[in-house]
């Protein structure tokens, strides 16, 4: 049901107000307003106006603006006042159902692992163990617990199988011509953008607009674009304007400004209460042992330790992920995520809410690890690193691990990828399909990890600049298609899935921005 715009606006305002009320920003504003009463320029007869002016000139209005902007970015617009909460999580019933089944499967697998290994999902650590963990908090990477019995709860291809089997029960496949011709693995009729729509959505990536990742290469004198772009970036940071920063990073971040720009867009300021919160999570980790901790260890050892770029940050990854699994503030995002967190209780405290432990639905930490690791290149203070990661997760990455109809959800990304390929490289698509190498089988792992671990770090960061800038993950699907287009000649010659995988095995030399630009703006269709 369509909501009339005024109604929608007032609902949005009400929701933002509700969320900001009682926040620390709220109390800070109140305190500032009270302090300002002592100032000579505040006059009793024009109290309200004067205080407002003061808040403006002292930069507090800007902080409020950034907070509002952040809320608008993260939370979806309300659909209808009468819409039940499940609809905000996910409007399509069959998607909700599929996500529910998937979660049940994961939880079942976790529970059976517990039974098999005779380890509880959660238990309190004995005191000496707590002390030991506290001592080696900064070097958990040197630990080598016996993890041979733990197996990953699921592999990306298991998740892909589930997505492939999604069906809309209201939909007769045979009749609609536009969908009958879809030859890919995803068989649900979600709306995805076509190239003209993508060109409009990503207009700042156009050929006549300067980009970092293209126009800052050695052959281009810095006066043409780079110097001015850096100057603008410094100004945006000085103004501390989230919305301006988000617009700015569409053209890429200068490396020296990136950490601050991302923090500004994500509205992370690392206040004392944030540091305290992180320390509290850390103490939760020390006190309680979760089964997933072992899964985290195992996954970090397998993925990050073997990565050419990320192995250095192994210790940070443990710290961030162990805290993350205990962070209940992450639960907030479940109101707009199709997922529901599995719940368990500390051993012996079944049913007692204060001893409840929630798990993020994706207990396969593989993807998490790879989405934390690049951030270590930008932030080395643990609590800030943690907050940035958490915000990136609740804004973007959770959509890669849950089944939903959202345009940035993994289902839509897969469909977008397949549609782009089938529409614009039909010969290639058909050929690969014929030899049993459905393109999605290869590109799925790239998208589900937001390309982390596949691209060189500097290229990955340029890609993630655009995720933040456009507040969307669609660029992942576009890049995946662009990579196939780039290697099309070689791919046309292969005759097996294995050979296709080999052609696409090494993406570490790719330059992301030229690929995207050419695919979107310079390919004759």
């Amino acid at each position: 049901a369509m909501l009339d715009p005024d109604r929608g606006l007032s609902l949005t305002i009400a929701r933002v107000v509700q969320r900001l009320q009682g926040s620390s920003l709220h109390s800070q504003l109140e305190r500032q307003a009270r302090v300002s009463l002592h100032k000579p320029e505040i006059k009793l007869e024009s109290l309200k106006e004067d205080i407002k002016d003061f808040l403006k000139t002292s930069g507090w209005e800007k902080k409020l603006q950034n907070a509002v902007y952040s809320e608008l970015n993260v939370f979806p617009s309300p659909c209808h006042p009468a819409a039940p909460p499940e609809h905000i999580k996910e409007p399509l019933a069959y998607m909700r159902k599929a996500q529910g089944s998937w979660e049940k499967r994961i939880l079942k697998s976790l529970n059976s692992m517990c039974t098999e290994l005779n380890i509880p999902l959660a238990q309190k650590r004995p005191a000496n163990e707590q002390k030991e963990l506290l001592n080696k908090w900064n070097e958990m990477g040197t630990d080598e617990p016996d993890l041979s019995l733990f197996r990953p709860v699921y592999a990306p291809k298991d998740f892909l199988e589930v997505l492939m089997n999604l069906r809309n029960p209201n939909y007769e496949n045979g009749e609609q011509p536009s969908f009958r011709n879809h030859l890919g693995l995803i068989q649900v009729p979600l709306k995805v953008k076509d190239i003209p729509e993508l060109k409009e959505a990503f207009s700042e990536l156009g050929l006549n607009i300067g980009q970092l990742g293209i126009d800052d290469s050695a052959q281009v004198p810095p006066e043409f674009f780079e110097n001015e772009h850096v100057r603008v970036g410094q100004k945006v940071l000085a103004e501390q304007d989230s919305a301006a920063a988000q617009q700015y990073v569409r053209q890429g971040c200068p490396t020296a400004l990136r950490a601050d720009l991302w923090a500004l867009i994500l509205n992370i300021s690392n206040q004392p209460e944030d540091i305290l919160y992180y320390e509290q999570l850390k103490s939760n980790v020390i006190q309680h042992n979760l089964l997933v901790d072992s899964l985290i260890y195992k996954d970090v050892k397998l993925t990050a330790s073997n990565d050419d770029y990320y192995f250095v940050f192994e210790d940070y990854l443990y710290q961030v992920l162990l805290c993350f699994s205990r962070d209940t503030s992450v639960l907030e995002h479940f109101t707009y995520s199709s997922a529901t967190p599995p719940k368990s209780y500390i051993q012996g405290k079944l049913g007692m809410e204060e001893y409840a432990v929630y798990y993020p639905p994706n207990v396969n930490y593989n993807s998490f690890i790879l989405s934390v690791a690049p951030l270590c290149f930008l932030y080395h203070e643990p609590s800030k690193l943690y907050q940035i990661f958490r915000e990136m997760y609740v804004r973007f990455f959770f959509r890669l691990h849950s089944i939903s109809s959202h345009p940035s959800g993994i289902v839509s990304l897969c469909l977008l990828f397949e549609t782009l390929l089938q529409t614009h490289l039909p010969q290639l698509f058909y050929h690969l399909r014929e030899i049993g190498a459905q393109p999605l089988r290869i590109s799925f792992k790239w998208m589900v990890r937001a390309f982390s671990g596949y691209l060189a770090t500097d290229q990955l960061l340029l890609l993630w600049d655009r995720i933040l800038g456009y507040n969307s993950l669609e660029i992942l699907a576009v890049l995946a298609a662009a990579v196939f287009a780039f290697r099309a000649v070689n791919l046309m010659e292969v005759t097996s899935l294995a050979a296709a995988e080999a052609v696409l095995a090494d993406l570490s030399t790719l330059k992301v921005m030229p690929l995207l630009q050419i695919f979107l703006f310079a390919t004759v269709t």
Binding site: A218, A256, D308, Y309, V312, Y316, C376, F377, D458, L461
Partner: protein, 426 residues
């Protein structure tokens, strides 16, 4: 006399595939040492024999070797320090602005080697310095051959009693290289990344010392330490344990590290730019280039600049947490062993680019050539310093440029190619 069809004849006493593959791909012909050869890639032991007075080896114009006769002036720890100290004093005597000192008496531009003394010869000087900072830690390294073995840390004078005794005896004490040590101030505040220590390995090719012409390989790397130690033992024991773990195997230049893994220099640059900013990162890399060139200039007057020689050095550099680079050591024979596939590719390319510069066009060399290769053959090398070119520019008469006065030339980023760039501090 018979003329061979212009193919280079090569010999080596280092059986490494990265070398041999490079020779073979050029179509060069392997010969034995006692035959007529044009190119000999030799170990440091062999170079000693070749140029020793006894053997009276005479190299002909079409023969090239990969070491300078007395490279040890740079590659032996004690001689390197000695030469740098001498160089600084000379500059100071001529009143050069490079030798300027700060209010604490430290060289502003030339303080890039940790304070070092020779033992037992400088024992008393060392004690004086030690007493200025009694809580400092020092690292003892044997001078001569064995790398890794025999390194240890001390923080009490009693731990080096032996050398105190030796220094008090007369000057007839034999200073065989087996007995001699250098003792250096231990850098206890290294820059950490991800909580891990690392050092930098950079490759520098010198084709001639007078005039000085040297090239820096763009694909240097950081070697990370992962050291397991138990937190329970005392601090010094920890460090001792640290070192004996780390110095377990003699791998030529790998002596100091259990390699926890490697990063490229461009990764390092990305990380530092992202976390510290561009200016300080540029300054750091400028300083690194600076100290390499200064170390070469320091030994240039004493190196036998034999025209049959070139040399590829492995520079070991540590960066401290104030982003100051320190020169730890220069290796004459950087390891050509490869631990991983990537490693093998890197070393293969290193040798390839080195040969392209040292043996132009892969043809039979003529040691009288001007040693000025065209830009196209540099590969992954870039010109670090060309004394001849600098002097003809007229900008270098007295090395007025110093680190910290960089003009921020764009191309000094490692991932760019082809720009002759390392001249910012000129």
């Amino acid at each position: 006399f018979r003329i061979m069809a212009g193919k280079v004849k090569w010999v080596t006493d280092i059986e490494k595939s990265v070398l041999i593959n490079n020779f073979e791909k050029r179509g060069w012909i392997q010969v034995a040492e006692n035959e007529d050869w044009n190119f000999y890639w030799m170990s440091v032991q062999t170079i000693r024999n070749v140029f020793s007075v006894e053997t009276g080896y005479r190299l002909s114009d079409d023969q090239i070797v990969n070491h300078f006769p007395n490279h040890y002036e740079l590659t032996r720890k004690d001689l390197m320090v000695k030469n740098i100290k001498r160089y600084r004093k000379e500059l100071e005597k001529e009143g050069s602005p490079l030798a300027e000192k700060d209010e604490n008496g430290k060289y502003i531009y030339l303080d890039f080697v940790p304070v070092t003394f020779m033992l037992p010869a400088d024992y008393n000087l060392f004690v004086e310095e030690f007493r200025k900072n009694p809580s400092s830690t020092w690292i003892m390294k044997p001078c001569g051959k064995a790398q890794g073995k025999g390194i240890f840390l001390i923080n009490k004078l009693s731990q080096i009693k032996k050398w105190s005794r030796d220094s008090k005896t007369s000057s007839f004490v034999s200073q065989s290289s087996k007995e001699a040590y250098v003792i250096s101030l231990y850098i206890n505040n290294p820059l950490l990344i991800g909580g891990k220590k690392f050092d930098l390995r950079l490759y520098v090719l010198v084709s001639t010392y007078r005039p000085l012409r040297c090239y820096m390989y763009k694909l240097g790397f950081c070697r990370f330490c992962t050291v397991k130690y138990t937190p329970s033992t005392s601090e010094l024991d920890n460090m001792f344990v640290h070192l004996t773990n780390v110095a377990i195997q003699k791998h030529g230049d790998d002596y100091n590290h259990i390699h926890g893994g490697k990063w490229t220099v461009s990764n390092l640059r990305l990380y530092l730019e992202s976390t510290r900013g561009k200016e300080v990162t540029n300054k750091l890399f400028d300083e690194i280039h600076w100290i390499i060139v200064q170390s070469l200039k320091a030994v240039a007057p004493v190196i036998n600049n034999d025209k049959h020689c070139f040399e590829c050095y492995g520079y070991d550099i540590i960066i401290d947490d104030k982003l100051k680079p320190w020169l730890i050591e220069v290796n004459a024979s950087p390891s050509l062993t490869s631990s991983t596939a990537n490693d093998r590719i890197l070393k293969y390319n290193l040798i390839n680019d080195t040969l392209n510069i040292a043996v132009p066009n892969g043809e039979i060399p003529d040691c009288k050539w001007n040693k000025s290769p065209p830009k196209e053959v540099l590969g992954n090398y870039e010109v670090l310093y060309d004394e001849e070119m600098a002097q003809s520019d007229g900008t270098d008469r007295d090395l007025r440029g110093r680190p910290g006065q960089s003009t921020g030339v764009k191309g000094s980023r490692a991932r760019d190619s082809g720009k002759p760039v390392l001249t910012t501090w000129k």
